[in-house]
Symmetry: C2
Subunit: 457 residues, 2 copies
């Protein structure tokens, strides 16, 4: 089956494809907030209908949380699984958005047209690049070039609690020769990239309770234990002076960067001044003596994602809070064991809680780091397809984010995964004013057509 007419059809279909994406973006499928449960369901329905319209046998599959979408094509050839997620991040602080996050807009910017709205880049815009590539292929050839299974989840932004049970229960149906994952970005502005390693994630929430209710800080202050002070002390102790994490045994399984990879990454000429400058910073703040790219790709981290205690409204309230809590996440690398780290973290924290306070923990998910085997010939085929589309050699890169699905595909289903995406550093995913370049959407769609062609020829 020829590629060129498919690419031409993708170009012709761009306006209609964009309109379809805007439709999907209007559904506020925020998975972490129970208030949006029906919307998550609606997004899954939308995808099922759209996949059916291009000949997939598609269905919404219930889970204890948000549903999965699974679809199978009528094509022959190698069996390929494509993964994306239809759920999106929360949108607060809402007042920092220039438009309604769920009333997506096509906007002209100095760098070209962008699709603005929550989920445009992470991950609805990205998953639709593959769907649109399939659509054009089907329109031209009447069938797809491969035996394709599409697998969309709706809990990626909330720790994927239903993912591994679902994969285990449906292992036979989901196992393919290789998995394609579209939830990452280009390297820099114009260089296509295939992720070959990505960090794992451990999410923890701890709540320190002191007095059994908020107290008057005049009446009790000085005598009663303040849990906000306890929490601050715990958080302050999680890093040492050199920026290393103090959880016992934390660095077990953290590999040193190989000379080869160090050289390849140096070749990428990562400009940390630019990267940090774009968000108002200038100084790498990670472990002493590490390359900036190491800090985000191959070193583990511990970050406070949220923290609250006492009165946080307007004005002032002289309260001595009953509780103080923090959401803390660890990015993991190499063979760090998330469950062992959770245990050591909880032990460390518990030991710091004074006699008169209690601590409770909440598990917000855990996934190990991922490491791809680039010897699989599929990597070279995809790299060549991307190089053709972007007219720039595709890079093998690391990823600081956590896409535990790649690890699960390996450990549960025994298949390798390729992470290829078209997001850009300035897409503002997880932030207000998220966008996806129209060129990312267009070239992304064209890239998948080329990759399918290379993988099946």
């Amino acid at each position: 089956m020829t590629l060129d007419p498919v690419l031409a059809r993708i170009d012709e279909n761009l306006d209609a494809a964009t309109a379809r994406l805007l439709d999907l973006l209007r559904i506020p499928s925020i998975s972490t907030d129970p208030a949006y449960k029906a919307d998550c369901d609606r997004a899954a329905d939308w995808l099922v209908e759209d996949l059916k319209s291009i000949g997939f046998e598609a269905s919404k599959r219930p889970t204890p949380g948000h549903p999965m979408v699974v679809a199978h094509s009528d094509g022959d050839g190698p069996h390929i699984l494509f993964y994306g997620h239809y759920d999106v991040q929360p949108v607060d602080p809402l007042d920092l958005w220039d438009n309604d996050p769920f009333d997506p807009q096509i906007q002209d910017t100095a760098k070209g047209k962008v699709i603005r709205g929550r989920g445009s880049s992470d991950d609805k815009g990205q998953l639709m690049t593959f769907v649109e590539a399939c659509r054009s292929w089907k329109e031209i050839h009447g069938t797809l070039p491969a035996n394709i299974t599409i697998f969309f989840e709706g809990e990626e932004e909330s720790g994927s609690p239903s993912l591994t049970p679902f994969m285990r229960d449906n292992a036979e149906e989901l196992t393919a020769e290789i998995a394609l994952i579209c939830d990452t970005g280009l390297y820099g502005e114009h260089t296509p990239a295939i992720i070959t390693q990505l960090r794992g994630l451990l999410g923890e929430e701890l709540t320190i309770t002191g007095p059994n209710k908020d107290l008057h800080s005049g009446m009790y202050g000085g005598l009663a234990m303040n849990p906000a002070r306890v929490l601050a002390k715990i958080i302050a102790s999680l890093h040492d002076e050199d920026g290393r994490i103090t959880v016992p045994n934390f660095y077990d399984g953290v590999p040193e960067l190989s000379n080869e990879l160090a050289a390849a990454w140096d070749d990428l000429k990562f400009d940390e001044k630019d990267f940090l400058g774009a968000v108002g910073l200038s100084l790498p703040a990670g472990e002493k003596g590490r390359r900036p790219l190491e800090m985000i790709w191959s070193r583990p981290t511990c970050e406070v994602n949220g923290m609250t205690s006492g009165y946080t409204g307007d004005g002032f309230k002289t309260v001595l809070p009953s509780k103080a809590s923090a959401k803390i996440s660890f990015r993991l690398v190499g063979t760090q064991d998330p469950l062992k780290i959770r245990e050591d973290f909880r032990k460390l924290v518990s030991a710091m809680v004074p006699a008169d306070c209690t601590v409770t923990f909440k598990d917000h998910g855990a996934g190990p780091a991922g490491q791809m085997s680039t010897e699989d010939p599929a990597f070279a085929k995809a790299r060549s397809a991307l190089t053709d589309e972007f007219e720039k050699t595709a890079a093998y890169v690391g990823c600081g984010g956590s896409i535990p699905i790649a690890g699960y595909f390996k450990t549960i289903l025994g298949m390798d995964a390729m992470l290829i995406g078209f997001g850009k550093d300035d897409d503002q995913i997880h932030s207000p004013n998220e966008k996806y370049d129209l060129s990312s959407f267009h070239k992304g769609t064209r890239s998948w057509a080329r990759i399918l062609h290379n993988l099946t020829k």
Copy 2:
């Protein structure tokens, strides 16, 4: 003028007096939150009308913030100023209230009837004890036993920004022979008390800004500065291992407890196990080597009243926050200088902020500690009146809370103040389910009648 018929009339009036108080409690006059501005105004109007109804020449007096209420009686005799505040604390967390905080109820409890609702004890219920004493006195004798000025403010719970300018502008009108302040409590359950020293208050809010927006903690984590970590480190550093505050020069002006006062306080047999046990704690958490009563009455403190950063909603969001902020208050004693401490605190914090972050401060008010001169014969007269009403010797005590008005009466208007109140430790002021014992309301009203009688005979 005889006292006994006045006391009898107070007893007869109790039901009607309670109904009036409930009326006032229904007005949600939360001064710190701009959303309740009109309600603060309404509370002032209500008081003006009520004072007029018992013959006061009363008026609402505008300020740049919430209005003052000033009223003058038609009585002769010594000139006495009475002070209270009609504004109340915010009510969150609202879900911990058993009933609507502004739908006050009379409830039967194991310890007797209570008036439940925001402001019942702090300070609407207390200020109405004096108004009701005047009402019964007027009803019996047709006039009041003294030349009384009533002065109510509406910004006590939000740092009193308009108070000192108003006092300076109206010094002649407000200056009396002595001031009576009703915003404190009994000692323990049954012992009437006159406060002879109280702590000052300095309120500060600091906001650390790192990146110029919330970031994806995978994409930037490890490389970008996290302001929540910076804030935690600052808060953790504000106390040393012995619980002493580390702000430079902080202990300048903090006096050691005199042997005499130490002995008198030891006589009070303060039971810290009981006091802390009532709020779910057991261990004094203040400076090492200090008496529990010192910790709350005569030692300065530094407390986190509120703290927030990043995502604090349900679930999890892997965000690296742009900002982290905390509301911090200092309770001050002796001759500690709030403005100097503010300066030293800001210097200390600023020095801890790393190069890539900025810090901004917000001033939430400052008032020095107060020390009364118990040699004034008014103290002995009031003490004897309270002793008669409660049939228990009234105690001279310290107060951990901050009622800067007492200091202002001295420094701006040159008059001494007596702090006498009828609240109880379990009134839950500043907390959910605030209450005021009906017996406090009743005996408080009777106490003021007795005190007026003693002061004027």
